[in-house]
Amino acid sequence: MTNQIDDDFVEITRNLGEIDRLIHEPSRLMIVAMLSSVESADFLYLKRETGLTRGNLSSHLSKLEEAGYIEVEKTYRGKIPLTICSLTEKGCQAFQEYRKQIKQFVEKT
C-alpha cells in the first residue's frame, strides 16, 4: 500500500474548493438538476418534486435567478396563474461544469 498521494488526486481535491457553491447546495442542486432535464417547469411542480416548502423554494429560486442561472416567468394557462422556471444557457453551462468537476472527483477517489 503506497503512502504517496497521487498528484492528480491532490489537484482534483483542491479544485473542489472552486466548485460552484450556488449549485452545490442540495436544495438548489435538486432544482437545477430537475430544470436541466425539462424545457420548463412551474413552481408547484418543483415544490412537489423537491419536497421543499414554499418559502424555501422561493428563496432558492430567487438566488438562482439573481445569478442568471434560471429565468422566471409569471404567466397564465387559461385562468390558472403559473410561475414558469427554466434554465438559462448560463445555468446550463454552470451545471455541466459542476457535473464535470464532481465526476472527476468521484472517479479519482
Binding site: 425539462v38 424545457e39 420548463s40 413552481f43 411542480y45
Partner: protein, 130 residues
C-alpha cells in the same frame, strides 16, 4: 385538471433525428406487416395474430420508454387476444373488429383507473401558488 394538482412541466421535445428514425421504423414495420400478410397462406385468418403482435410490440416499447406496468399488461393482453382469436379461427374482419373492441375497452379502463388514482392521490392545493 393536472396543473392545479401537480403543477405544469414542459418536457424537452425529441430531436429531429430521433423523430426521423421513429418514422422510418414505423414505415419498415408497416411494410413488414403487409409483406407477411401477403406471404401467409389464408393470410386473412392471421390478421388478429399480426395485429396482436404489432400492437403488443408498440405497447411494449411504450412500457420500456415510460417504465409503466400497465403498458406491459396491455402489451401482454394484445398478444394474448391476437393469438387466441387466430387459434380459435376467428380471423378476417370479424377477428380484427373483436380485437380492436377488446383492446379499446382495456385501454379505456386502464386510463380511467389511472386517472382515478391520480385524482385520489393528488388533491388540488388549498391556496393558490405564486
Amino acid at each position: 385538471m393536472t396543473y392545479p394538482r401537480t403543477g405544469y412541466v414542459s418536457f424537452r421535445q425529441p430531436k429531429k433525428s430521433r423523430r426521423a428514425i421513429t418514422m422510418i421504423v414505423a414505415l419498415i414495420v408497416s411494410a413488414a406487416v403487409v409483406w407477411i400478410l401477403m406471404l401467409l397462406p389464408g393470410s386473412l385468418d392471421w390478421i388478429p395474430l399480426i395485429e396482436g403482435a404489432a400492437v403488443g410490440t408498440f405497447l411494449f416499447y411504450q412500457a420500456q420508454s415510460f417504465n409503466l406496468t400497465r403498458f406491459y399488461i396491455l402489451a401482454t393482453l394484445a398478444a394474448a387476444i391476437g393469438v387466441s382469436l387466430s387459434v380459435a379461427g376467428i380471423g378476417n374482419l370479424v377477428g380484427m373488429g373483436i380485437f380492436f373492441i377488446i383492446m379499446s375497452i382495456a385501454i379505456l379502463f386502464s386510463g380511467g383507473l389511472t386517472l382515478h388514482n391520480y385524482i385520489d392521490q393528488a388533491p388540488p392545493p388549498v391556496e393558490s401558488h405564486t
